[in-house]
Symmetry: D2
Subunit: 339 residues, 4 copies
Amino acid sequence: MQIGMIGLGRMGANMARRLIQGGHRCVVFDTSPMAVKQMTEEAAIGATSLADLVAKLEQPRAIWMMVPAAFVDQLITDLLPHLEPGDILVNGGNSYYVDTQRTARELAARKIHYIDCGTSGGVLGLERGYSLMIGGPDQAVKRLDPVFRTLAPGVGSIPATLGRDKLDGTAEQGYLHCGPSGAGHFVKMVHNGIEYGLMAAYAEGMNILKHANVGKDAHAADAETTPLRNPEAFQFDLNVRDIAEVWRRGSVVSSWLLDLTAAALTRDPTLATFEGRVSDSGEGRWTIKTAIDAGVPTPVLSTALYSRFNSRGEAEFADKLLSAMRFEFGGHIEKSAGK
Amino acid sequence: MQIGMIGLGRMGANMARRLIQGGHRCVVFDTSPMAVKQMTEEAAIGATSLADLVAKLEQPRAIWMMVPAAFVDQLITDLLPHLEPGDILVNGGNSYYVDTQRTARELAARKIHYIDCGTSGGVLGLERGYSLMIGGPDQAVKRLDPVFRTLAPGVGSIPATLGRDKLDGTAEQGYLHCGPSGAGHFVKMVHNGIEYGLMAAYAEGMNILKHANVGKDAHAADAETTPLRNPEAFQFDLNVRDIAEVWRRGSVVSSWLLDLTAAALTRDPTLATFEGRVSDSGEGRWTIKTAIDAGVPTPVLSTALYSRFNSRGEAEFADKLLSAMRFEFGGHIEKSAGK
Amino acid sequence: MQIGMIGLGRMGANMARRLIQGGHRCVVFDTSPMAVKQMTEEAAIGATSLADLVAKLEQPRAIWMMVPAAFVDQLITDLLPHLEPGDILVNGGNSYYVDTQRTARELAARKIHYIDCGTSGGVLGLERGYSLMIGGPDQAVKRLDPVFRTLAPGVGSIPATLGRDKLDGTAEQGYLHCGPSGAGHFVKMVHNGIEYGLMAAYAEGMNILKHANVGKDAHAADAETTPLRNPEAFQFDLNVRDIAEVWRRGSVVSSWLLDLTAAALTRDPTLATFEGRVSDSGEGRWTIKTAIDAGVPTPVLSTALYSRFNSRGEAEFADKLLSAMRFEFGGHIEKSAGK
Amino acid sequence: MQIGMIGLGRMGANMARRLIQGGHRCVVFDTSPMAVKQMTEEAAIGATSLADLVAKLEQPRAIWMMVPAAFVDQLITDLLPHLEPGDILVNGGNSYYVDTQRTARELAARKIHYIDCGTSGGVLGLERGYSLMIGGPDQAVKRLDPVFRTLAPGVGSIPATLGRDKLDGTAEQGYLHCGPSGAGHFVKMVHNGIEYGLMAAYAEGMNILKHANVGKDAHAADAETTPLRNPEAFQFDLNVRDIAEVWRRGSVVSSWLLDLTAAALTRDPTLATFEGRVSDSGEGRWTIKTAIDAGVPTPVLSTALYSRFNSRGEAEFADKLLSAMRFEFGGHIEKSAGK
């Protein structure tokens, strides 16, 4: 079928490619004319403006937005004058599901169908397909089924879950209509919250492996430093690159994130090109706020989020206060780095 | 080659099977004669005692122990009178690596080679192969290479890590000599610590999904209960079984543990057969203690461990004390379950 | 001066008493006529309705609301028709500061001054005085200074902070104008967030003391149970009641919450009257959500909040899923309680 | 009575002073002759060596060691040749209680009584007295009762705990015989573990207050940065110094650590003299390891410990790995500081 794609960044461009390869006709737009030009060379129909994109689509239209959450509201405001009842607008990015619910209500009043589609797959999605978590009105979601089916990985070579053959539905194809408006972004939000937790688990574990040789260091013995009680137990120079690789093979912790870990460590086992300032882009935060509203304990996911805040220095005042308290009650002088 | 296998539980029996299928000759022993009998029907050579097992093995012997950590010391004590210099003893279970280091020193004094082999793969290892993390003296590890190679999954159909082709070693085969005695159990310990963190991340996330409909409940409005500020945002009845399935397909959180989650939820989406009392069997604890000794922050892995303690009611006195304090400062009366 | 007090629960009634003892005239109202009657016997002027209360106050009026956050909006709606420009409305409860900011804007449009006053002190505040964290417009806050001064503890016998004598302000008196509307509730919110953290720290520590004799129990030795490695180190039957008392005397952890802990344990060292289902009433949740918005890492405060969720069984599905995963990968059968 | 004091650092010197002021005779030794000289000017009897100290004490001797845990073993080894059956050795520092148990067994074999005395009070203990948590054999502890009574704060002006008058014991005096050898250090260890948790709770909360004006900053709007959804709610410039002070006055979070926080912020509200590298000196680590052995969930105390590790940069490799994974799956480029 025909679909418009707005936003040709890392995700949007590859999704357009996968749709075109799947036989769909894509009209594409991006604020960067270069990005549009690139896609027209790959069989997309380029648009010069939002108005132009809308004009090039047959009614009722289907338009997929693939832009950062911060830009969604403005984009919808700009698109709205050009849309007509019956058109479908898909938000394939990571908006906060509460915003999505509000937007869906506003658009429904104009008879425009708003679909939220959480999209996972990263830069490898072009080849592997994208896992799609969809929310919105039944009819509109059904209308776009061919698009979802193409973007999703399909059954492929992934082994079936035992007992799954007795069940209906599209989950095995890699896309799922999760519920009414907001349900797709809700599920995607939690998905990303889990992702933070998984990543932190690997990172903490790898950090232990990296420190398995601390017994080789000489340590100061004073009242400010905890002596390492058993230096003989910390004499291992472990090869984290090979360990990540061996865990990919049959171990309980094998996963796609571990594949990526192995890839990163194979590129450079010291990770020297990174400073260790880890961004977070919203979904982790929303997950925790949602869990707190619902009264659900999420210590692991929260702590994983805070590790990222910490990595960017946001604990600085708290840490200073800890040192200040220690000075007040015990006269402890702070030890500088390297001492 | 020929190898003895002691311990024919879930892991040991399947490992013996995989070895036999790989062309090795296995002499097996278990405290349960039934377990031995079963294996002899599958082409293993049964032994009636430890002495019998040792007698049936050619020198220099190779004996693989696959028993719970709590029984390892006694088993070695019982085996030792029968062993001779040059024999190899493999501990394939999850012993604390500090114990392993000690035992290796003691056995080395008798010229018996002690190999620690962390073994991951679970009940599916027979088919998929086992991920092996090996510690111990070079010559002994090299001697058992055929055994490790058979137990490991091999390259199989798992995509290669980019750049890996320029590197040597056995990691891609699914087994790795990590370092001297204890290194295998050290790496396996951290592996399991990570496993706890991954499992908790999924469990917490799924629990949020399960609570996505809390806005449908009527809640008491009193000073003891936080009112749900936005019940309209919690009206989703999500299908956790299908969500687990769709995440298996191309998403960033896909993993073997997610496969198992999908399998469990397909079996019964309510998980009604479980009480939620989660055991822990040592490696998670050792991981945290090791991290603390090394000064490595592991908030996610620790919190995951504590969730298990909590699930078994170990926070009870702490919780009572919190309620008691609230009563003291605010006269707050505890709300019973269901009120 | 004259002031109206609405809400004669544990906090409101005692605050009215302290104001009357301080020479102020209090007009009081509560939905319970009994509560009003009780206060009239203690020199308060009773009101039979909100309208009656407003009528009995001289203009410009000052009315203090001391009701649960969930009832504030409705109360203001009911009061509003009776109020006139220049009147001051104080919210002395624990409203979410974002709500407070909104309400202040709405009331300011009607020239009614809204003051948010976070109030700490618990049931002992009548005697000790209340710590007051105040937000709102300067003139209105200044007008109520006599009220704040009476409610606050004053300098009393608490030792001065070194260097404080060179500083101005009311902080030493126990009340502080923290900033514009919402600032008082913001500071009180964080105060309560800290309170959760402090309480959890004591509770966890006391729980360790309680378990100092676990080495006396016989434990099962199987693959599902981590054996206690060093039972000889866990043979202490500690007297938690006396330990709380001794810590009150000169130790670094002395605090008012510790005083309460000692009181609770003196009442009953087993805390048998409590089930351990710990309520939370909003501020802890708001603290975490605020911290997340601001990007501030708060792992301790968050974890303390989750301990309360956990105590009420909210982790149940997560725990079941952990057991389910363990069954899937390792065939581990859950151990029931008592086994 | 007469007592020897070894170690005249911040703690030991003040304890000797308090003992002398209480009418005891103190023979003192330190590796620094200056420290000894200083104390002799304050009525202590100086010793020039361990042998000299022992010689100057009447039998059966009582010697109090106040040195860092790392130096205790060597000190005992050096003292031992000079001691005789019936002598008492007090370890007033923070040794790991497991070491204490071992040492007590070794000394008991020589009929030397070993007492472990956890000592809290910090630099203010000279004036306020020290909270003492004592472990060891009954007779020896009873013999030193006059010393403990002098060091402890006594009942003083601290309000009695309700119901305490019906109970016996020394807890109200500020010292407590907690149990056999190790019990004192066990209780002190948990005390310090709690202290870490309390400190972290204050530090995290104060850090939120410090960030209450983040809405005034302009933030980048891109896919790598979570936009602040509600900048209007983060416009407070809070005076953390005055807030700490007002909380000291009647609030639920009042404590000695809060007094110190107020003092530190009064000295310098920006804490500019601190880098925020927070030391930990053993007891926090031992607390967590003990809790894990006993199966007691301690998420708050653990997380507080990890905050200190984090403050010293120990998460660096973990953070780099998180950025590396984000690059692998999403092509996310790390944002440097200040961007």
